[in-house]
């Protein structure tokens, strides 16, 4: 339980980082970042077997995480910095010129922890398929995790990769879908409904586990269980129900904070709801 409480303290600080980053540059995507803060904290501070202080692009012997929905870069950068990939101070440069923290994650500036650029949606799962194939060729038993958005499932390339991974039994690949039900133009069900995502992935040969992505205990448990279930002939999809804007009351229950930065007053109201647990950057 202490571990869970500690992870919750970290995720609260990560949420503060998200608000402060998008407020400072007056741009970026707070909604999905806040919703995924618990998952990303659980991954980077608990589940991933990785070497933050000695990042290598090939990730031999390490678990690899790929962010396909690159617009939630604030949460990605926060957990990377706080787990030791790069100095915490760099978070202040998010989206400013000459920073390594580009609006969407990139490798060009050499930011440790990023292995492929993302932002144009639908590409990450294919990269994950290749990375998973490489691990099999290398007899490397570590895993590949790919986080995608739910709206992103509207991209055709996702389904090419879903078909491939199922057919080729990539059982070292774990996809996570941030199922918050919202995208830029509104509710996913209004923009273009996804239907029964679980049934669709299962029909493509995947094992699917639904869970509550804002319940830290559930998140940790599902990630641990997923690792146990690797190597059994099926790729896995973790269907993660989240609340966009989680942790900031006025950002929840709406799609309006998908890609909008808070003003001074809104940022202050948001930060008042998020305790400074580890110290701001």
């Amino acid at each position: 339980m202490t571990d869970i409480n500690n992870l919750k303290r970290i995720s609260t600080q990560v949420r503060r980082d998200i608000i402060r980053m998008v407020h400072a540059c007056q741009s970026g995507h707070p909604g999905g970042s806040l919703g995924c803060a618990d998952l990303m904290t659980a991954l980077y501070f608990q589940e991933l077997r990785h070497h933050p202080s000695s990042f290598s692009m090939d990730g031999t012997g390490e678990d690899i995480f790929l962010l396909s929905n690159g617009h939630i870069s604030p949460v990605f950068y926060s957990v990377l910095a706080r787990s030791g990939y790069f100095p915490l101070d760099e978070l202040a440069g998010f989206r400013f010129i000459h920073s390594r923290l580009q609006g969407h994650p990139a490798t060009l500036e050499g930011l440790p922890g990023v292995r492929v650029a993302s932002g144009s949606l639908g590409q990450g799962l294919s990269v994950g398929c290749g990375a998973a194939q490489a691990k099999k060729l290398n007899h490397d038993s570590s895993l590949v995790f790919v986080l995608m958005g739910d709206g992103e499932q509207q991209e055709g390339q996702v389904w090419e990769a879903v078909l491939y991974a199922g057919a080729r039994k990539l059982d070292n690949l774990i996809a996570i879908i941030d199922y918050n039900g919202k995208q830029i133009d509104g509710a996913v069900d209004n923009v273009l409904p996804l239907g029964d995502l679980r049934a669709k992935y299962e029909a493509f040969g995947w094992h699917v586990t639904p869970f509550d992505g804002n319940d830290m205990e559930a998140v940790v448990g599902v990630l641990q269980q997923a690792r146990i279930m690797t190597g059994q002939g099926k790729p896995q999809m973790l269907l993660m129900k989240t609340e966009m804007g989680m942790g900031v009351d006025f950002m929840m229950g709406t799609h309006k904070w998908h890609g909008v930065a808070p003003n001074n007053e809104q940022a202050a109201r948001a930060l008042a709801q998020l305790e400074e647990t580890l110290g701001d950057y």
């Binding site: 990139a106 932002g119 398929c129 060729l137």
Partner: protein
Amino acid sequence: MEIKVLNHQDTRSGYGDGMMELGKINPKVVALCADLTGSLKLDAFAANHPERFFQTGISEANMIGMAAGLTIGGYIPFTSTFANFSTGRVYDQIRQSVAYSQKNVKICASHAGLTLGEDGATHQILEDIGLMKMLPGMTVINPCDYNQTKAATIAIASFDGPVYLRFGRPKVPNFIPEETPFIIGKALMLKPGSDVSIFATGHLVWKAVEAIEILAGLGINAELINIHTIKPLDEEAVLASVAKTGCVVTAEEHQMHGGLGDSIAQLLGRKLVAPIEMVAVKDVFGQSGKPEELMVEYGLDTPDIVNAVRRVVARKK
């Protein structure tokens, strides 16, 4: 270099045989193919190295993304399909997951240009060089015959960075001596001359070889330089040649917009102004037909090079 026809072979077989060689000498080389294994001449590689051959099905976008992912594990992926499906269809995947991400992916593209023939304009991409050369950090190579394609295939495996390698379908004269080293970014002098510089790439190089013989009979001493690497362009070789001859003809199986001629005209405009004529497709789509008929129809044949030379030499005076 003495130029003589050694045999007639398709450039795509140079790719397949180059891959066979790489399969033996470089354990990091892997091949991906989107349902065109026979067309890309990869059957032997697939049979000899099944663990390093990835059949992706008709899913080119996924193939490009997978290639980017395979580099993360330290592999050197060669993606393999038709030029049309290797570029325009997957441009954003190449741009973000490969070029911007600086991935060591080799995008290998067959059936480029009009010489694909009967399948028609849907498959005859004539814009691919332009698309690929615009991407920062992308190397663009268009070899001219079987031997050069095989040598290029082997050479790019040792080069760190994304490469677009373009070749074709029909059997054409194979004339570059097998022992000729393939140096990425280095123009290949085929015949020195003094009256005009002909810069040719791909299938048009042989047409240019034929043209310079005709031109010699007309009293025009043409210099012929093979530009197999369109990007980075061997600027030094181009400028040295034009400084000597004072006029230029470019020849390629590609649209005039965005191709080799475009790159050379841009260079000359910046560094050394000289009259230029371009043998290329003039902003139209192709059509079904036999490869040789199409080359005549769209002005990419030997007489077209001869006429372009005569025009540009006249402009010089």
